[in-house]
């Protein structure tokens, strides 16, 4: 690609040379900066910025599956969304899912990263097994979990029954609290490996001599962990937290496959509610209005986390 650009730009050398001397176009930084950036910017404007604007336009209209013609409707769709208690429930659930998952993902990811950088035999196999949840397409792993949490044939229930811990099955996805816990568990299971990989990147970038110096000075495992490793890898932990938050916050596949938001909307999140309203319910305007709520919240979270990272790096 870059080679193409190079051969393409050379014949376009302007006939009149700039007065300061011989400069080819492929040497002009300001020209190249634009040419290099242009394809990405055009692509993003065309397929993200414009559709984003269109989503806002939809939210301010009365477009529905039955009547696709565009009519201005002001804030009607928002009013309809706000009047529905399910919207507020979804908003609350989205926050609970994201916060709880994020904390668990960061803590468990840190633990997992420490295990994976240790030296032991069979490390290759362990790393392969640990990566599985992240590399599996989320729809497929969610289907696996649906069977794992089945109301009748769940092996977890079978084990608990045979250990004498429960009398009847748990109905993991049938009771509001258990369903929430199940959805969170699947998110955490799926995203912890990614967080661990990101944090391993932080661990390997700690200069070896710092750790060795602390070891020589007699600092134990926990002391080294909390006075060296954690402070030095805080930025990368924040990056892991950001990825965990974004991927949980915007994901609808886990909820959609496991519970479809049920029982009685107790696991409904904004993303799945927007889909159910906008596509399955045919109310495109309301779906767009609900989905629009995802962006400012994500933006706020991202700005907070990135600012925290920057402050840590300055120090």
């Amino acid at each position: 690609m870059a080679e193409l650009t190079a051969t393409r730009t050379r014949p376009e050398t302007p006939p009149v040379m700039p007065p300061r001397g011989r400069r080819r176009l492929s040497d002009s930084d300001s020209f190249l900066a634009w040419i290099f950036l242009l394809p990405s910017v055009v692509y993003i404007i065309g397929l993200v910025a414009l559709p984003f604007g269109l989503a806002i336009a939809f939210a301010l209209s009365d477009v529905s599956a039955g009547d696709p013609s565009y009519d201005w409707a002001g804030l009607d769709a928002f009013r309809r969304a706000f009047d529905d208690p399910v919207f507020w429930q979804s908003l609350g659930n989205t926050f609970i899912f994201t916060l709880v998952s994020m904390v668990l993902i960061v803590v468990l990811g840190k633990v997992l990263a420490n295990i994976l950088v240790a030296d032991f035999r069979g490390k290759w196999v362990v790393r392969f097994l640990v990566l599985l949840p992240w590399t599996t397409p989320v729809a497929l792993s969610s289907v696996s979990w649906l069977w794992l949490l089945d109301s009748i044939f769940s092996p977890i229930d079978w084990a608990l029954r045979n250990l004498g811990l429960i009398e009847a099955n748990m109905y993991w996805l049938g009771k509001p609290d258990l369903a929430m816990a199940s959805v969170i568990a699947v998110h955490v299971w799926r995203l912890t490996p990614l967080a661990a990989v990101i944090m391993m990147a932080g661990l390997v970038s700690i200069p070896k001599d710092v750790d060795e110096a602390a070891r020589v000075d007699g600092a134990g495992f926990w002391r080294r962990m909390f006075e060296i490793t954690v402070p030095l890898t805080l930025p990368v932990m924040a990056v892991a937290a950001l990825f965990g938050a974004v991927l949980t916050f915007t994901d609808m596949a886990v909820v959609y496959v496991l519970t479809r938001g049920g029982p009685t909307n107790s696991t409904q999140v904004l993303a799945s509610w927007a889909y159910i309203r906008g596509i399955e319910g045919g109310d495109v305007a309301q779906g767009a209005a609900i989905a629009l709520f995802l962006f400012p919240l994500l933006l706020a979270a991202a700005v907070l986390i990135l600012r925290a990272v920057r402050r840590m790096e300055v120090r």
Partner: protein
């Protein structure tokens, strides 16, 4: 005639050594136990999926049966069903070529963009980098309503090509962000030297920077492919004919018919998809980590 003080030290040293050995051994045991627990928690569902895939219906649908053992002889029927009576092969092929094309597009657009932002210091470089990262935060759940209109307008509805067109919206922002970090970690002198030696800016980029940024490119390829393979919302919204679907939507729609779940075949599909991707990812993991360390940590 050994002085008493030194004798004490000998004894103490031996004691200390024993103490350290014991602690060391305890540490080893702990590491192995922790690694085994982590592997079991992560891969347990897959092991169980693998078992399920070979079970007869009479074995599977009996709540009294031990779900971790074969109570009836294992069968290959459900795996053969997956290959013979569903379009599993087509889904795999679709995911593969969409993923590879999307990765190629991502690199073709993302590498120059990242280089432009990281190296060709323009007044707008800083905020352009931030802006591109924030694009990553615009979730598919927000865009799929308008993008499905766009896909229809372009005549790409119900075609796998719609995914090739749209997936780079997910992969380009995050890849550019990662690549900026990698590029910043390469000393500027290297290109400047190449340019002094007579290469143009573009020539220096191709001949000196690209080889050095290779770990970063590997990280981006692996990460983009994984994101593409697991994408669900767009694939669900754009494509309805079975033969055009990728794995993530094709397998569930073919093997969940109304309330009837073809559980064994579903589990077989999950394991068959999960294992190769994880193997490839594991193969490149060290590069990925090295790349991420350069990109996210030092970037």
């Amino acid at each position: 005639m050994v002085p008493e003080v030194l004798q004490m030290t000998d004894a103490e040293a031996a004691k200390l050594r024993r103490h350290h050995e014991r602690r060391h051994r305890a540490g080893r045991v702990f590491v192995y136990a922790a690694a085994a627990t982590a592997a079991l928690l992560a891969a347990g569902p897959f092991v169980w999926s693998g078992l399920t895939a070979f079970k007869l219906n009479a074995d599977l649908y009996n709540p009294a049966h031990n779900p971790f053992a074969f109570n009836r002889p294992p069968t290959l029927d459900h795996v053969l069903f997956l290959f013979g009576d569903t379009q599993f092969g087509v889904f795999v092929w679709n995911t593969l070529w969409v993923g590879l094309l999307v990765v190629a597009i991502t690199l073709a657009l993302g590498l120059p963009a990242a280089y432009s932002i990281a190296r060709l210091d323009r007044p707008w470089s800083g905020w352009m980098g931030v802006a591109i990262f924030f694009v990553y935060l615009v979730p598919p759940t927000l865009l799929f309503l308008s993008l499905s209109r766009l896909v229809v307008a372009l005549g790409l509805q119900d075609s796998t090509w719609s995914l090739v067109l749209i997936y780079p919206t997910i992969t380009i922002p995050v890849s550019v962000w990662l690549l900026i970090g990698f590029l910043k970690s390469i000393p500027k002198d290297i290109e400047e030297q190449a340019m002094v030696d007579g290469y143009s800016r573009v020539g220096a980029f191709v001949r000196t920077v690209l080889p050095l940024v290779f770990p970063g490119i590997v990280a981006v390829v692996v990460f983009s492919f994984t994101l593409t393979a697991s994408e669900f919302v767009y694939a669900l919204a754009f494509i309805s004919p079975t033969g055009e679907k990728p794995l993530s939507t094709g397998v569930p729609t073919e093997l969940i018919r109304g309330d009837v779940f073809f559980w064994q075949s579903l589990q077989a599909a999950t394991v068959l998809v999960a294992v190769p991707i994880a193997l490839v990812f594991n193969f490149f993991l060290d590069r990925f980590i090295a790349g991420f360390a350069l990109g996210a940590v030092k970037g």
